[in-house]
C-alpha cells in the first residue's frame, strides 16, 4: 500500500489542522472564506481553547494553522500562542498585520516554533485594497517591515490568486524577496463571501494557463498548499499531493468549536462535530460519520473517464459545492472547460448552497465601489487548504523512492530555522 493510500484512508490525527480562533475581523475582505467580521458570542473561551491545545498535544498534532477572522484581535491570542508552543504544538498564524507593531514583531522574533503569514492580495495598494479594504495594503507592508527589522527571519506572504492579481506574481515575489519572506500563493475558492465575489474575481481560463506556466517556470520556492492541483491537467504535474485532504489529513476547527472537513467547507453538509461534545476533538476526528465517508471510496463520476483524472482527481470539493456543481462532477475551473459547461447546464432552479454562517459586518456589505477586504486565508489560516497542505515537493514521490523512510517534506509551517 502506497503512503498516499494511507492518507486517503485518514490518519490517527490530522497533519494539517486549521483553527480559526475568531470570526471577528477588522477587515471585510470580499472573498473571505469564513464570512468573518463580527465576533460570535459563542466563541471558545480561553480555557476551552487551552483544553483543545492539550488535546492536540495528546494527539501529537505537531502544529496548527491559526487564522480567523483576524486571530490577533482576540485579547488572549498571545497567551494562547505561548500556551500552544509550550505544549508541543507549533503555530503558524495568518494575519492581516493589524497588531504586528515593532514590539510584537520583536516578541515573535524571540519565540521558537512560530511562523507568521501576512495576507496580501495585491502587489499594489490599488489591487489589494479593492479586495481587502482601504488601508489594508499599508497595514500589511508595515507589518512586514516590522518583522524584517526585528530579524524574525523567513515569514510568509500569503496571496489568494485572483483575476486582478494574477499578472502581479513576479511583483509579489519581489516583495517577498525584499523582506526575506517566502511567497505562498493559493487558490481562490467560492467559499464564504467568496461565493459573492467569485464571478468577478476567479481567474479566467486563460489566466489559469498563465498561472500554471508561472508555477512551472518560477514556482520552485513558492508555497502553494498544493491548492492548484486542478491545474496539473495542463500537462506536467505540479509538486505536491494530488489529493483532496478534506477529513483525511486536513480539517478545520471554527471559532465556536465546530469541526468541518476543510477550511473552505463551512457548511452543515461538511460539519463533523464539535470539540465541546463528549470525547472532544479526538472523538470527532476518529469517529465522525462524515469523515468516515470522506475516507472511503469516492465517486469521480464522469471525470473518471477523463485522461487527466489521475492528475486532478476531479478538483476541489468546496469549489464544486459552492458553485452548485455535484461533488462527483468537474471542478468549476476544470482546465478542459468541463466545469464551465456543467455550470451552463445547471437547471435554472438549481439551488446553489449558501454558507451556513455569516458573521459579516452588517454595515460593510452591499455594492462595492472601491473596497472590501478580507482574505481567503483558510489555508491557514492559512493555508491551506483543501488539498493537503503539505507544502512542498511531492512527498508521495519522495516516499516512493525509498520503501522505508520518506524524504522529509516541509510543511507549510516550515522553513524558518531558529
Amino acid at each position: 500500500m502506497k503512503l498516499v493510500d494511507h492518507f486517503v484512508e485518514g490518519l490517527n490525527s490530522p497533519i494539517c489542522l486549521t483553527w480559526e480562533l475568531t470570526y471577528a475581523c477588522n477587515l471585510s475582505c470580499v472573498h473571505c472564506l469564513s464570512s468573518s467580521g463580527r465576533r460570535d458570542p459563542n466563541e471558545l473561551s480561553t480555557e476551552e481553547c487551552k483544553a483543545v491545545i492539550d488535546e492536540l498535544q495528546r494527539m501529537q498534532v505537531f502544529y496548527v494553522n491559526i487564522g480567523g477572522g483576524e486571530p490577533t484581535v482576540r485579547s488572549d491570542f498571545w497567551e494562547l500562542l505561548d500556551y500552544a508552543i509550550a505544549h508541543d504544538v507549533g503555530v503558524k498564524f495568518s494575519t492581516n498585520g493589524v497588531k504586528l507593531d515593532k514590539a510584537r514583531a520583536a516578541q515573535l522574533a524571540a519565540t521558537d516554533y512560530v511562523d507568521v503569514q501576512i495576507s496580501l492580495d495585491g502587489a499594489t495598494a490599488e489591487v489589494n485594497d479593492h479586495v481587502r479594504g482601504p488601508g489594508s495594503y499599508a497595514t500589511a507592508i508595515r507589518a512586514m517591515e516590522n518583522l524584517y527589522e526585528a530579524g524574525f527571519g523567513q515569514f510568509k506572504i500569503s496571496v489568494v490568486v485572483t483575476r486582478h492579481n494574477v499578472d502581479q506574481l513576479d511583483e509579489f515575489k519581489a516583495i517577498a524577496d525584499r523582506y526575506g519572506a517566502q511567497l505562498r500563493i493559493t487558490r481562490f475558492r467560492p467559499s464564504g463571501r467568496g461565493a459573492d465575489s467569485w464571478d468577478e474575481l476567479h481567474p479566467t481560463r486563460e489566466q489559469q494557463r498563465q498561472l500554471y506556466d508561472w508555477l512551472v517556470a518560477r514556482g520552485e520556492d513558492v508555497l502553494t498548499g498544493d491548492s492548484f492541483f486542478h491545474l496539473s491537467a495542463f500537462g506536467q504535474e505540479l509538486p505536491g499531493l494530488n489529493l483532496c485532504g478534506a477529513g483525511r489529513v486536513v480539517c478545520l476547527i471554527d471559532p465556536v468549536g465546530d469541526v468541518y472537513a476543510c477550511p473552505f467547507a463551512i457548511h452543515e453538509q461538511f460539519l463533523a462535530g464539535n470539540v465541546r461534545s463528549p470525547g472532544g476533538f479526538d472523538t470527532v476526528w476518529r469517529e465522525s460519520e462524515l469523515f468516515a465517508e470522506l475516507r472511503g471510496p469516492q465517486s469521480g463520476g464522469a471525470c473518471t473517464k477523463c485522461s487527466h483524472y489521475d492528475a486532478c482527481q476531479g478538483g476541489c470539493m468546496a469549489a464544486k459545492f459552492f458553485t452548485g456543481l455535484p461533488l462527483d462532477g468537474p471542478d468549476p475551473e476544470c482546465v478542459l472547460g468541463n466545469g464551465e459547461r456543467a455550470l451552463a447546464q445547471l437547471e435554472m432552479d438549481t439551488v446553489v448552497p449558501k454558507p451556513s454562517l455569516d458573521h459579516s459586518h452588517r454595515t460593510t456589505r452591499g455594492p462595492r465601489k472601491d473596497a472590501g477586504d478580507g482574505a481567503q486565508r483558510g489555508s491557514t489560516g492559512g493555508s491551506g487548504p483543501v488539498p493537503l497542505t503539505l507544502s512542498v515537493r511531492r512527498p508521495d514521490r519522495a516516499c516512493d523512492s525509498d520503501p522505508l523512510a520518506g524524504e522529509g517534506t516541509r510543511l507549510p509551517a516550515g522553513i524558518r530555522v531558529g
Partner: protein, 111 residues
C-alpha cells in the same frame, strides 16, 4: 556488530551529507516527535519543520530504540530486522541522519 553488513559507510555517503556510521551510537534528535500511524509513523522535527515518514513498524522501533544500543546494528538486531533487509534499513537511517532526524550520540548524551 559487524561493519561488513553496513553498506552505509563513508564511500556510500554522497558528498556534503553528514557521515552516517552504523558502528556508532545514535539517538533521535531532541526536537523530533514521533507519531504512530497504521503504516509506521510520522516524524516531525519542530526545529526544521520537516515532516518525514517511517514506512514500516520495525523501522519505527529501530528509530525509537537507537538510544538504547551501543550502535545502530544493535538496534536493528533488537528490532529483529531480517538480515537481508539490513542494507535497506541502513540506507533509510542514513537518510534520516542526513535530515537531522537522528543524530550521533556521545557519551553521557541525552536527547
Amino acid at each position: 556488530m559487524s561493519t561488513t553488513a553496513a553498506g552505509a559507510g563513508p564511500r556510500a555517503t554522497p558528498a556534503g551529507v553528514e557521515h552516517f556510521d552504523a558502528d556508532q551510537p545514535y539517538r533521535i534528535s531532541g526536537s523530533v516527535s514521533v507519531r504512530p500511524e497504521s503504516f509506521g509513523a510520522l516524524v516531525y522535527d519542530f526545529h526544521t519543520r520537516r515532516l518525514s515518514f517511517l514506512k514500516t513498524r520495525p523501522l519505527v522501533r529501530v528509530v525509537e530504540t537507537l538510544a538504547d544500543h551501543p550502535d545502530v546494528h544493535g538496534a536493528l538486531e533488537a528490532a529483529e530486522v531480517p538480515a537481508p533487509q539490513r542494507d535497506q534499513y541502513l540506507k533509510a537511517l542514513a537518510g534520516l541522519a542526513q535530515a537531522g532526524t537522528i543524530k550521533r550520540r556521545s557519551e553521557g548524551d541525552t536527547p
